[in-house]
């Protein structure tokens, strides 16, 4: 029983939250990896793209809530999400047309693109703070838990329960649907194959009559959609705060590089490894170990490897380790 209790505790505080977080990171990392695969640069504005899509989703959610429109027990934000996705696509295509296309025509090198994307990031971040402000915004409604801690405890007949939030289930389900669709698109459709061909060899793709501008446009549409979805799911699961989207770039980039840059499967793999590392390293194992140890025994300290304040250090460590040991990533990707 004690072992089962320990496992339930672990599932409740590590496995469930890390899975949801991993799914959010995976959607973000997929966007970064697709932009890298097609446009060959690290897009630092991706976080703000997530933020922008989420912001529009929130504004529409509030509007719908005021109008009394909802899809209870599901959060109203799901209803508003398509508008957020469209807005993110709009911003992405607009910045591409106004900024990135210029440098594409100059055939600028990837570093220039990356720096330019930092500029785009700051402009978007400013715009977002002007529109919605820098403060926390809550927009989650609908049923909070699929199964609460107490209910699951009674159900399992244990001392520890496994609470599952609705937002966590929605995150995983939506991420799964999006990822399956994305892989189907890349593997089976003409446009998807053309994108992979373009990513593989631009010059040869040109010889095949593949239109580069069209490929670039599709890449932005996909990346922006993934960004808006990822941001909204993250906001539903935790909270929407404009500042988060600068910080979240780090685990997203770590996941992208860890998985192999330009490799969609790698991005997903990397995202879950980063998410689980972050949660596992910052989890306090005191109670967990107490269940496993002799009766009435417990460790003196919290047995927490790293304070949650330092959780971003985990991404940093992973990033440095990957770049030192295996710069190509898990699935052999491109090296910047």
């Amino acid at each position: 029983m004690e072992v089962l209790n320990a496992l339930a505790l672990f599932a409740n505080f590590v496995v469930v939250p890390a899975t949801a977080y991993g799914a959010q990171l995976a959607l973000g990392a997929l966007g970064v990896t697709i932009i890298f695969g097609i446009l060959k640069f690290a897009n630092f504005s991706h976080g703000e793209l997530m933020s922008f899509g989420t912001m529009i989703t929130i504004l529409v959610t509030w509007f719908l809530q005021d109008m009394g429109v909802g899809i209870a027990p599901f959060p109203t934000a799901l209803l508003a999400l398509p508008v957020g996705v469209l807005a993110a696509i709009g911003v992405a295509l607009l910045t591409d047309r106004m900024v990135f296309r210029f440098y594409r025509r100059q055939r600028s090198n990837p570093i220039v693109f990356a720096i330019v994307s930092v500029g785009v990031m700051f402009v978007l971040a400013g715009l977002i703070r002007i529109i919605i402000g820098p403060a926390d915004q809550s927009f989650a409604d609908g049923q909070r838990f699929i199964i609460g801690a107490f209910a699951s405890r009674d159900l399992l007949g244990l001392d520890e329960g496994i609470a599952i939030k609705q937002s966590q289930v929605i995150t995983v389900v939506v991420a799964l649907v999006v990822v399956v669709w994305l892989f189907w698109f890349l593997q089976k459709t003409r446009s998807g194959k053309a994108m992979r061909a373009y990513s593989d060899d631009e010059d040869l793709a040109l010889l095949c009559g593949i239109n580069p501008e069209r490929v670039v446009m599709i890449a932005w549409v996909i990346a922006a959609s993934l960004a808006a979805i990822a941001g909204t799911l993250y906001g539903l699961d935790k909270t929407y705060k404009p500042f988060i989207f600068l910080q979240i770039l780090l685990p997203i980039f770590a996941a992208t590089i860890l998985g192999g840059i330009g490799q969609p499967v790698g991005a997903i793999l990397g995202a879950f490894i980063v998410a689980f590392s972050e949660v596992m390293v910052t989890y306090a194992y005191k109670k967990f170990l107490a269940y496993l140890g002799p009766a009435d025994w417990a460790p003196d300290g919290l047995v927490q490897l790293l304070s949650t304040d330092y959780k971003f250090a985990v991404s940093f460590i992973i990033l440095v380790a990957v770049l030192l040991i295996r710069p190509t990533g898990i699935i052999r990707g491109k090296v910047i």
Binding site: K193, A194, R196, S199, D200, D201, L204, A205, C208, G209
Partner: protein, 235 residues
């Protein structure tokens, strides 16, 4: 006028001209081979014909139409297909996907037929259709590259050193396939290092030296020519 007629081409990279007043012609169903020593400008001439270099002087016409000003990708719909020497397959795509990309600009319903024809010509590709092209041997990759080019159903197939880096047996096989392709009425223009073998299957040969046409004749005549043999074919 010949089917492909590139006349008086002068061009190069930057300010310096590499080829001077160079002329290359090919007829439908024939094989034309450009040979010559290293640095003679063979590949440059090929790139000029395909529009990868801007001509300073001269014109390129295909089937009577002046295409001198067209960008390379715009020459593909006109019926030209080009197989570069290096990086000529999508390494991460499967063999079949490579062929599909070749047919990207086509909008007819006969793409499957052309694919079957390519598989008929290169049976090994049918066998490895689901394997990434990057995992194939050099000779097989060349077959993918040629197959991809054929998927556009070109009137003119241009090959830049198709036998570079493949074994003599594979080279003979490739030349056989190129002969087969020519028999279907496609004009073939290729640059070759293996001058003797290439001239043996060529209807016309162009010997280039220092960016200029030195000898132009039928393949047979060039092989018989004492000067050509001594200078370029090793006796």
């Amino acid at each position: 006028m010949s089917f492909l007629s590139a006349t008086g081409m002068t061009c190069g990279y930057g300010a310096a001209d590499i080829i001077h007043d160079c002329t290359i012609t090919v007829e439908k169903g024939e094989i034309a081979v450009v040979v010559g020593p290293n640095g003679a400008g063979k590949s440059t001439a090929m790139k000029a014909v395909f529009g990868m270099l801007d001509l300073r002087e001269g014109t390129v016409t295909l089937n009577g139409k002046d295409i001198s000003k067209l960008a390379p990708q715009d020459r593909v719909p006109e019926g030209m297909a080009f197989v570069p020497q290096n990086r000529n397959v999508f390494v991460s795509l499967t063999v079949e996907e490579n062929l599909e990309m070749g047919a990207f600009i086509r909008e007819d319903n006969e793409i499957e037929d052309t694919k079957d024809q390519v598989f008929g010509l290169f049976p090994i590709l049918a066998e490895k259709r689901n394997q990434p092209a990057g995992e194939l041997s050099g000779g097989q990759r060349q077959q993918v590259a040629v197959g991809r080019a054929l998927m556009t159903r070109p009137d003119l197939l241009m090959l830049d050193e198709p036998t570079a880096g493949v074994s003599p047996i594979v080279m003979d096989e490739l030349f056989d396939k190129i002969l087969e392709i020519a028999k279907t009425g496609v004009a073939i223009l290729m640059v070759e290092q293996n001058a003797r073998q290439a001239l043996e299957i060529a209807d016309h040969g162009f010997v280039m030296v220092q960016g200029r046409n030195r000898f132009t004749d039928t393949g047979e005549a060039l092989l018989a020519n004492e000067d050509v043999r001594r200078s370029f074919l090793g006796g």
